[in-house]
């Protein structure tokens, strides 16, 4: 169940849950400018802000999908708080801190209040990000394989042999694992 203060926020969350990119664009308009502004003032770039914003959206999706979201503030504030905490976690790993110590204290308090599992969210985003960097065929084979589809069925679907799929699956998986391991964020987690 999704509980929000406003109907508009609820509509946006349902759109996010359904993977509606037009609704997601509205969420970008609503919250990303503030996040970019704040990250840029705290040793980050627009790309950093966009990256953590995507991570925050996935975190919100996971909460919505698990029927575990009661918003006591606006969606804009909620996303802002998640993004700040994600950015704060990244800065800390680099032995850096926010430009405003008071802001940092506040983020820690907010994080305790909302109980974000930052590391878990970062891992999800990392896996998904690198999965989408693979070619279409690799994505399809791995996606079917992870859903426990037998190799024989995958081979039939792609009009090829089981042996070929077995070999391709290994190549694709190895590519994915290496790509994740080479990401600087992976070594920080």
């Amino acid at each position: 169940m999704i509980e929000t203060k406003s109907k508009e926020d609820k509509k946006l969350l349902i759109g996010l849950q359904e993977g509606d990119s037009a609704v997601i664009l509205k969420i970008y308009d609503l919250a990303l400018p503030l996040v970019i502004n704040w990250v840029q003032k705290n040793n980050g770039s627009e790309d950093d802000a966009r990256d953590i914003f995507q991570e925050a959206l996935l975190a919100v999706y996971k909460k919505v999908a698990s029927n575990n979201l009661t918003l006591t503030c606006t969606l804009q504030s909620y996303l802002r708080i998640i993004c700040k905490n994600l950015w704060l976690a990244r800065l800390k790993r680099k032995d850096m801190q926010l430009n405003d110590p008071l802001d940092e204290k506040l983020q820690i308090l907010e994080n305790e209040h909302f109980e974000f599992d930052i590391e878990n969210n970062e891992k999800t985003r990392l896996y998904v990000k690198h999965f989408f960097k693979l070619g279409d065929q690799c994505q399809e084979i791995l996606s079917l394989y992870f859903k426990k589809t037998p190799l024989k069925v995958i081979a039939e679907k792609l009009d090829t042999t089981e042996n070929y799929i077995k070999k391709r699956k290994f190549i694709c998986k190895e590519r994915l694992v290496k790509s994740i391991q080479q990401d600087p964020i992976f070594s920080e987690l």
Partner: protein, 248 residues
């Protein structure tokens, strides 16, 4: 052992389909912390990527991210009102004051609650951008205030005030945020000292909001006392005079 063989072993472990012989090899490999990490990675990848809807949502997020462009004018920059525009603001308040004055000539009787609702509106941000240790907190507070997230705004202005008690603006906007949250007594505690300080840019506005906070709590005497002290040159003077006529 080749990478492929290792992957097959991990897959079988995750499927719980290791033979006894493979289990022995696996247990030996588990003594290596790097191998343990690799298993956690494979497990994480599998459990994340088996979720079709999550992948669909990520694809939609990617698409939105490619499409979305940063507005040319930064939101926060647009929202900070430079001090020099105060004259425009005074003019606007005076105009609004006249409208309210006319309205009260027509309206004969109203309860304190109704009067409060008719007169209360948020004071616009009139604050020069300051640089310093808590610049970002103040920036956030302004953003939250302007987005009408008053619970957050009150909290952030409170942080800013504690860090810099000499900045009267922080107390002032914290008080208005608290009024929006229904914490009128707390707002009064913040506004009262502002009305007792030597003349400053928020003196008359503080008296105005103090009067309104007392009005909301049903303290007519205190409300009248605050409103009567508003300077005749203040943009709030006409409106406060109209309100006083209704209160007396």
């Amino acid at each position: 052992m080749t990478t492929e063989e290792k992957y097959i072993l991990i897959e079988k472990h995750l499927d719980k389909s290791l033979s006894e012989e493979e289990q022995v090899i696996f247990d030996k490999l588990m003594l290596d912390p790097e191998f343990k990490k690799e298993i956690a990675l494979h497990q994480g990848i599998e459990s994340t990527l088996e979720d079709d809807q999550l992948l669909k949502v990520q694809a939609a997020i990617d698409q939105a991210n490619r499409t979305w462009q940063q507005p040319t004018q930064q939101l926060s920059e647009a929202k900070i009102t430079p001090l020099k525009s105060i004259y425009k603001f005074i003019g606007a308040v005076a105009a609004v004051g006249l409208i309210f004055f006319a309205y009260f000539l027509i309206s004969k009787t109203s309860s304190p609650d109704q009067l409060y609702s008719q007169h209360f509106r948020n004071h616009p941000i009139v604050m020069s951008q300051r640089s310093g240790d808590n610049e970002i907190t103040v920036q956030n507070a302004i953003n939250q205030y302007q987005a009408e997230n008053f619970e957050e705004a009150a909290k952030l202005f409170e942080f800013a005030r504690q860090a810099n008690p000499n900045q009267l603006a922080y107390s002032f906007y914290e008080a208005i945020s608290k009024m929006n949250n229904g914490a009128f007594q707390e707002a009064i505690s913040l506004l009262k000292p502002l009305t007792q300080r030597p003349k400053h840019v928020f003196s008359d506005a503080s008296l105005w909001y103090l009067g309104l906070a007392h009005l909301k709590l049903g303290n007519s005497k205190e409300s009248i006392s605050a409103l009567q002290n508003i300077n005749s040159a203040s943009p709030y003077f006409n409106e406060s005079s109209a309100l006083l006529k209704k209160l007396k």
